[in-house]
Symmetry: C2
Subunit: 196 residues, 2 copies
Amino acid sequence: MKKAEATRLTILEKAFELIYVKGYQTTSIDDIIATTRVTKGAFYYHFKNKDEMGLAIINELLKPTLVGSFIGPLQSAADPSTAIYELMHNLLMENEFLKVEYGCPAANLTHEMTSWNADFNQALNELTGQWTESMTQLIERGKLNGTIRKDVNARQVVMFVMAGYWGIRNFGKLERNKEAYLPYLEELKNYLETLR
Amino acid sequence: MKKAEATRLTILEKAFELIYVKGYQTTSIDDIIATTRVTKGAFYYHFKNKDEMGLAIINELLKPTLVGSFIGPLQSAADPSTAIYELMHNLLMENEFLKVEYGCPAANLTHEMTSWNADFNQALNELTGQWTESMTQLIERGKLNGTIRKDVNARQVVMFVMAGYWGIRNFGKLERNKEAYLPYLEELKNYLETLR
DNA sequence: CCAAAAACATACTAGTTAGTATGTTTTTGG
DNA sequence: CCAAAAACATACTAACTAGTATGTTTTTGG
């Protein structure tokens, strides 16, 4: 049972790439089997239907990536202002997996799927919930170790910062150029400094 | 040539509602003619194809709304911190046209259309460009009248604020509840106060 | 090694899509 | 009032969609 797992993974990875670029609805099963060179029989052997594959992409590809790239860098950090800025800088400017013209995969799926597919909504909510959680804990730690003011409301800050991240991805899509990220990052730095 | 214009406008308005709720790609021409009770012949008399209709929605419906609801409140304002907060509060909490579960129409279209349709991209870019412009001017005025610090970078602030607005709409979609907006708005207020 | 299960392959279907061809009705200007 | 243009109506098409029916091949455990 090794080759079969590889086939399944190929489908998930290639389908994810297509969906990241084209969107979920406009990526057809025929698109997926054409680029994976896996037949329709194989596809439907591994997935009951398209939505089950979509959920598998979120749970099996996006979640681990989220933990690695979005949450990991926050867990060991002691200085929240610096850690959050550097995380955002890395995600926006350096991460070679996330392309400016295609935005943030989780945000794309949220925009497209939410409000008509409850399962996707829940899976995506868990995704952002984990990120929120880890960033909130970081700020609370900062309040304890003196790097963040005691009167700062962690939940507010996290919502504010995460909203900014998702929104600036939208600008990147529009302008198709990472330059759009720079003024945002500069002001994010200014804002984060006010929390000290 | 009065009735014909009414037909055209009906198509645009009903199509916009459908697209706002369901998305552009998943709103079919057949959906549109069914809800408008306009026949396909009439539809294609008024619009060369679906994309031409989509662009007409942006240019003839979204742009005027943008000027009225997003730009108007900024033009007469003297105190940028207050004006921007109140604009956002109004857009998020009070505007009865924008529904929390469906997000921001312009952001939705940006997410969906950009990166595969250059015409939509340009139209949407113009839309956000106008908003950016008016908010930048407001901040510059604030720097002159003493309500904003001289060392504030207007462009940075505008990108930061607008990114936040678009991003928090995403949270609203996920949680389907305006409560998600409240911590964001509180922190926005805090942030805007630091610009004084 | 060999049967049974797992994994994959091919050909199809029924429904939906944007768009067109070809009409008929309604409006308008002289 | 009446022809011509504008506005609309109906019936169709070709391409695409997710999904299925029915196979064949490959792998695996005893």
